[in-house]
Amino acid sequence: MSRLLLLALVLSAGWSTACPTCTCANPALTTIGADQPFTGRLRLATTFRAWAQQDGRAEVDRAALRELRLDLTASWTPLERLTLILNVPLQVRERTDVSLAKERGFGPGEVDLTARVLLVGAQTFRPRHLISLLASARLPTAPTLHDATGSALSLDAQLGPGAFVPALGVSWTAFIGDRWSTFASLTGDVPVEGRYGLRIGPGVQLVGAAQFQPIRWLGLRAGVDARYEAVSFLRGVASPELAGLLTQALADVIVSPVSRLLISAGVRVPFVDTRPGPVSSTPIASLTILVDL
């Protein structure tokens, strides 16, 4: 789940005008990762996100997870074709087991570094298409959390799997007139073994969204965010409970009250879930504030 959120963050952390100081080129409110890069462009975003999940059998081994996280994201374009994205999450997570025993963790999560190489759409004032190659790495920066007695919290209560996760992908943004834009990305990741001997299965994520701007400062976005994940292994033992396809419908409202500032509120609602579990995920609510510097 945390990988899903992190990737979703990269793809939807915020939308802003393609040209923040002039706004006369491309009026589409675009995400970090889907935006039109130009040399020296720097964007900062803060995303608040809340989610919860239950897994296990009722009255036997059910555990409930809930998390509030604050993602700090910076996107910098040193070269027209190259954009670097840094994401640092701060998380508060609580795990409640079947006996109502709780574990809580607070701290920084796992940092994501992404390089976006623009293949199509550079050196054009108002490109209709942006096609980019994405290469990213999630770093095992979340410290292992312990309780007051020095005992390590359980794996689910930790703020990440503590694994190096390289990923590769491609993204495509299309601008259709002044009011419509679309975005799609396909990304695959292959985590290495992390904390407690957990090796999360390789995953593929597809995000597709369309955006309509009835007013220049207002965007309405809808789409699909789907991830398929292969079987994970814990100390060499297969854990198929969370392997499968999770598809979420996404809906966002994006407002740009003033130039350089953008506010986005949205929700992800699961609607196709083939994971054997038993597992159930709640809708994910998010709020993003993005500033173009």
Partner: protein, 221 residues
Amino acid sequence: MSSLSLRERGEGRGEGQTRAQRTLMLGLFLTALTALTACGEREPGLSVSVTAEVASPLSFDTATLSIERVELVRCETARPWWRALSPLSTAWAHGGADVEATDPRVVVAPVLVALTSGEAQPVAAFAPPPGAVCGVSLTFAPSTAEARAQGTTLFLEGAGVRQLSTRRYVVTKSFDARTLDEAHPALTLRLRFEAAPLGADGDQTLAALLATVSVVADERT
């Protein structure tokens, strides 16, 4: 139009990057600060402990009683009337070995109760789910966990007496419903074995001893 826009864009960049550098530095500082304050904590959940007490300790060299399995018995709850009309039955977890091994209301771990001791002896500890508990089910069975039990359910030796039994008994004792929830997180079940006369053999003595078992449920704070 285009050249004007590009010029404006270029002019705004220098000031923006100065602010950007300050913002980035602040962000990095806050991140580092937060990393230093990463912390975790645990809060205990519901718990039930089962202890055994022997009212009149036996004066043998060895006197052991083996308990193989302890299960908390949840209270029967009345089905809502609309469920009675439903053609669909309630789905319960499969009762296979897998569920038995992970059911938090079941402890399968051989424990020997020393019948020579008058002190409370721990028998089992549970971390159960919320709900009402109305009884405890005890399985007395031969134990191979400790050599002093000699692979028996009951073993008495000393003072010129040697009795043993390898019979298996399941004894269920009920008590007034006790609800486990956040307001009532802890419960102790005290098993009490009263004095029982020695039978002609170990089987009779075991049956007589188990007939005296009672249970007292005490809430702990």
